[in-house]
Symmetry: C2
Subunit: 318 residues, 2 copies
């Protein structure tokens, strides 16, 4: 089925200038970017990252899964301040109904590609005795030496979070809006982002990773954290507070950014199309701290850790 | 387990100049190549592409699978005339013994990376309810506009095949020797390769694909095809002739190359470290033909077609 499906796919793909040779040869040839190449990869597996048996219950479709497989990589690209160019998509299809599932999944992939001007430059398809698995590699570019790293935070930096966080499991998590446009706008403004990470495992865990990578800590105005309406709804179901959901729920796919106070002041005056909220400051003392009436209370990272079954996580250094 | 394993992996990876930011951030940053970027991806799945239940019987190990997951991509890179630079490796691990299998698989991956000066620039690891699956994306470069495409063959071109073909299932297929060095040597000689493909599904099928992509055909000196010793051994088991095995067995990972007769003459005089055998000529008449005492006999493509269970294949156009 691979050959027939690739033929179908070639017909569905637009030709984009960043790809010189697309699907159908031994490899794709991508035109050199004007800076450094950025590459990220992420996989999504039925039964681990989502559950197709709940599709009817949750109102989700295979197309959502396809869309998400691209979107989670775009979110990583945004967190590098990168401009996405092309994807390679590898799919392992279950034995049952592989053609129908492949077609449905690709509806979502093609939708994401069209929305973000992404070329589908290649891929691989297999049918096997296992659940649907999609592995996407996204290629993009950044101006040379200007990638936004996790490790670049500096003492005194303002910490921003985009959008609002928490409760994404109520449905948002399958149709994430990666912050590609926001990253592009910030680059155009020549704001110097010192450090960035996307929130995939939870605000607290991912902020902790950024701090650990930078060898620094964070003091937070806890009440400034922008809480999503979904976190409030979710709190009514779980008995946790909306703030707790905002702090630890995963799959927000928002950005955490740090920059110096001058840039922070400048950016706060500009309409970026997405809210950007200052939630605290990078400090020399490691760990995460909540400012409370002049005192500091330790905040522990909580969220989703791959391969662990508890929601309480130990601090991570990656 | 992802975080701990990534930490282990960072420790095992050499720093190579082509990678500015490696494992541990949202994406890898790769230094711009001096030409165009070449990207290919291929996956390898237990039960589909190999069978771990036969390891003991066949004398294979998880490390071989890891090595092969890189080598099959290197073979595609060689078939583009590309220089490999970095890989992103995504692994889905079975629930049983995931850590041990990941460690063993990575032994082979690290061995291939060391042998071909490849940086491991990133990846993703999941544990799931399914068989081991490895998806590799390989990034490399070619001088701008000089990628070796399947579609570039010209009437009158000499057709070469590297090494010897057939019978790889006797064991060679798990430790392929991708023709990266050969491709590099040919580039250095400034031989102008018109078209190229690697033999993954069989000489006949892959040559047919090259011909179809170029809109041309091939006239072959059938007896010139270099038959591997494994094909002769295999023939004793199957009752087919060694030539039939050379013609249709897959996973040789040799290269088919076409070039004009002048370059063909030049290259035939040079020791390339690997035999390069002229097996025929590109012709205007489509299809593949065997020259026999001044007459032409039609040759049908045969080999492994993904998703088909017969060994007789219909001509393909990709």
């Amino acid at each position: 089925m691979e050959q027939a499906f690739l033929a179908y796919l070639r017909g569905r793909c637009r030709h984009l200038p960043q790809v010189a040779v697309g699907i159908g040869d031994d490899a794709a040839v991508i035109n050199p970017s004007d800076g450094q190449l950025v590459a990220c990869t992420d996989q999504i597996i039925d039964g681990t990252d989502f559950d197709s048996r709940r599709f009817e219950l949750d109102g989700h479709r295979w197309a959502d899964v396809g869309f998400k497989s691209i979107a989670i990589n775009l979110s990583d690209m945004a967190a590098m301040g990168g401009k996405p160019q092309a994807v390679l998509v590898t799919i392992a299809l279950p034995n049952e109904n592989p053609s129908r599932i492949a077609g449905d999944v690709y509806e979502g992939i093609l939708e994401a590609a069209a929305e973000y001007d992404l070329a589908i430059a290649g891929g691989d398809i297999s049918v096997y005795d296992g659940p649907l698995s999609i592995s996407v590699t996204l290629l993009g570019s950044v101006p040379s030496g200007k990638a936004w790293l996790r490790s670049g935070a500096q003492e005194g930096d303002a910490i921003f979070v985009s959008g609002a966080v928490g409760g994404s499991l109520r449905g948002r998590h399958l149709r994430p809006q990666p912050r590609i446009q926001l990253a592009k706008r910030i680059r155009e403004l020549e704001i110097c982002v010192h450090a960035a990470i996307d929130i995939s495992d939870g605000l607290s865990l991912d902020l902790d990773r950024l701090c650990a990578s930078s060898g620094l800590g964070a003091e937070l105005e806890a009440e400034a954290i922008p809480i999503h309406a979904d976190a409030i709804e979710r709190a009514q179901e779980t008995g946790c507070t909306p703030w707790e959901h905002a702090w630890r729920d995963g799959e927000d796919f928002e950005l955490i950014l740090t920059m110096n106070q001058e840039d922070a002041k400048q950016i706060s005056k500009i309409d970026l199309g997405v809210p950007l909220t200052c939630i605290g400051e990078i400090v020399g003392r490691t760990g995460m701290w909540k400012r409370n009436l002049g005192k500091l209370e330790r905040l522990m990272p909580q969220g989703y850790v791959h391969g662990k079954s508890t929601s309480q996580a130990t601090p991570e250094s990656s």
